[in-house]
């Protein structure tokens, strides 16, 4: 085992090797298989996609960095159909890529080669909502924003919120343990997901606290926890029971400007102490990223400052919340922690502030190929980390480092782009990768705070997990998916050395 891992560590990643990472034990699906899969879905029109043009959207992810070669997409409409499909694929050793909204940032949702794609988009019913407990039961293909709209009319809210809310689906959110902007306030999906229905590789359906679902239930190993964040490699999530808190009566937001990162940290500490229980989100953006965002979206603060912060509060009493906010803001200004800022006077203005923050990702992507990093670091280390990256970029090339993220969670989104170059540059990629990973690991940070592993970051797992832990992870995979048909080539690095 140890020598195998050592050899894996030494291999360098070249794009053409990716395809042979898939197990030679897997078979490529044929037209006979697609006909059979079609019959498993009662030959329902639209449930099977084999047309090349229609396949494009499924074969490519949002970032357009990862492109698969699948010739078959199945779109089951029920757990039963998912079960039949997986049972068949397991028997035939056909690789399956579970796909929800495909908004992930590590290529976890698209095939590496010609695995078939199982899209959960047709599993889009909201099944139940109990307003007393706040438990929402929904199928995996429900779009996050639809769930947010549904719960809002019932005085509740879904505990996660992401920029991709209009496209991402709850099954995908759960399978990637999505974080988002309200993580600090409402907690992780690991705490909020009370139950799951999953289908294993062999077609078995497990009801892991989905129906009935309870706020508290200590009866047996918490198997559902394994599937949260497993990126579809242990089973396909078909239903989610999630705990929704009460919808805030009062939502306020401020967009603030700081001279340096120490001030950002002080503003954060002050926010925690002054705003207390009403603090819901605290995001930061640096002037590099704001500089590209302002080309597309007007900034609330006209002057450019080194850092801007978006603070949002959720409370049950607007007068009370505004009083706390005004005290916080006047103290922050008096102590020169915040140099300038605006306070939203309406919900539309709150949405305007978020538009700026949510435009960071797409606006950076328009500048060139993004070497995207999502790291957890001690907050005080952010500036040194960034300057280390910047100072090691080739000076003769237009490489820019854009930084923003959930500073309240110690989560930095560091995006490195060579302006105008939309192709991955392998030399630069290697330099950047080694630099960033080394800088993060040295600071005992996480190399993937919330984006997950997918088909991109998994190769680094041996650097950060000890052999015993990795061994247990492989054993878990073996237990749930012995043939390795679910999302092959992703999440766990290959155990065999490629030829």
């Amino acid at each position: 085992m140890r020598s195998l891992l050592k050899r894996t560590l030494q291999c360098t990643l070249k794009p053409e090797i990716r395809r042979s990472y898939l197990s030679p034990a897997l078979t490529i699906a044929t037209s006979h298989d697609s006909e059979h899969l079609f019959s498993l879905m009662n030959c329902r029109p639209g449930s099977l996609i084999t047309d090349e043009t229609a396949l494009t959207k499924y074969n490519q992810d949002w970032t357009k960095k990862y492109k698969g070669d699948s010739s078959i997409v199945v779109r089951p409409q029920s757990t039963e159909e998912v079960s039949k499909i997986l049972k068949y694929c397991n028997q035939k050793s056909i690789g399956v890529v579970p796909q929800a909204g495909s908004t992930g940032l590590c290529g976890g949702s698209v095939p590496i080669s010609n695995e078939i794609i199982l899209s959960v988009e047709c599993l889009n019913n909201i099944e139940y909502f109990d307003s007393m407990s706040g438990i929402l039961g929904a199928q995996a293909g429900c779009i996050l924003q639809d769930l947010q709209d549904y719960t809002a009319t019932r005085d509740h809210l879904v505990p996660i919120d992401l920029g991709a809310k209009g496209t991402c689906q709850i099954g995908g959110n759960v399978s990637t343990n999505a974080g988002g902007s309200y993580y600090y306030r409402y907690g992780s999906l690991r705490g909020n997901v009370l139950g799951l229905e999953v289908v294993l590789a062999n077609g078995e359906v497990l009801n892991l606290g989905y129906n009935p679902s309870h706020l508290k239930d200590n009866t047996g190993y918490d198997l559902k926890a394994l599937f949260i964040g497993a990126e579809g490699t242990l089973g396909i999530v078909t239903k989610v029971a999630i705990l929704c808190p009460r919808l805030q009566k009062s939502k306020c937001a401020a967009f603030l400007a700081c001279q340096n990162f120490e001030q950002v940290i002080k503003a954060l500490e002050m926010a925690k102490s002054h705003l207390g229980e009403i603090l819901a989100a605290f995001e930061f953006m640096d002037d590099e990223v704001l500089g590209v965002v302002k080309e597309k979206v007007p900034l609330p603060i006209l002057e450019m400052y080194p850092y801007c912060v978006l603070v949002e509060t959720h409370g049950s009493d607007e007068e009370h919340d505004l009083a706390k906010i005004e005290k916080y803001l006047s103290s922050a200004m008096e102590e020169d922690i915040v140099l300038d800022g605006v306070l939203a006077q309406s919900l539309s203005q709150v949405q305007d502030f978020w538009k700026v923050r949510e435009s960071c990702n797409p606006c950076v992507a328009e500048k060139g190929f993004v070497y995207k990093y999502d790291v957890s670091l001690p907050v005080h280390d952010f500036p040194l980390f960034v300057s280390e990256i910047r100072s090691n970029m080739p000076p003769e090339r237009p490489v820019r480092v854009f930084n923003y993220g959930h500073v309240i969670d110690g989560n930095l989104h560091c995006n490195i782009v060579e302006l105008g170059n939309f192709e991955r540059d392998h030399e630069l990629s290697k330099t950047v990768e080694e630099l960033v990973l080394d800088a993060v690991i040295r600071r005992r940070g996480s190399i993937s705070a919330e984006h997950g592993l997918g088909q991109y970051k998994h190769i680094h797992l041996p650097k950060i997990r000890d052999a015993a832990t990795l061994s247990c992870m492989y054993a878990t995979k073996q237990q749930f998916d012995p043939k390795g048909i679910l999302n092959p080539g992703k999440y766990l690095p290959p155990q065999t050395v490629p030829s």
Partner: protein, 254 residues
Amino acid sequence: MKILVGVKRVVDYAVKVRVQNNTVDLKNIKMSLNPFCEIAIEEAVRLKEQKVADEVVAMTIGPKQATETLRTALAMGADRAIHITTDLRTDYMELQPFAVSQIFQKIVEEENSDLVLLGKQGIDSDCGQTGPMLAGLLGWPQVTFAANIETDGKSMTVERETDSGTETIKISQLPAVVTCDLRLNEPRYATLPNIMKAKKKKVDTRAAEDMGIDLAPRNQVLEVYEPPPRKEGIMVENMDELIDKLKNEAGVIA
């Protein structure tokens, strides 16, 4: 030039209202400055910054909480504010444009305003009547749906939005009443320093009931209901099915 700007406290534009007991349910609902009034304040403040106007007074008619609306206007740059207090509903259910315009008339005469800027309509009542009624009561020229205003403080040229295009109107002599439309400007955000300054600005309070105006509604609201839910669209599988549905269900082709 002294400008009086009407600012209305309405249900926040982003809120989805609910109808309860034959009326819009205002319990616990987020209220904000009417977007068209926000545009009116912005225009007034710009005129002051251009040194065409020397004072901007914001006025609102509403309950105790309406002072928040005035604070927004003051934070945007108004110099002082007038709060006409009333507990009557201002979303057309109780207080209606005829009474509102009479209140404005009285204040305009007391203030000796040279220009009245109003939003073209409240997003709650959607009447668009206060501006024209006020101009009628005062005997002043009026331009509604202003998309551009140019003035030297004595005369004014206004570009006005109509369904068939833009109309340019010249007011040769102020005072006048102008109502503001969407394209007129992009309102500024309330900055922290200005929010602090606004706290020190003067707000005069007066009860609507003490003004000697008949506040009773002229029209009776018979019914309030939500629009029927939009019927869900259906996906068709192929061209034949589409033609069949267009022919036999929608009846739009022979």
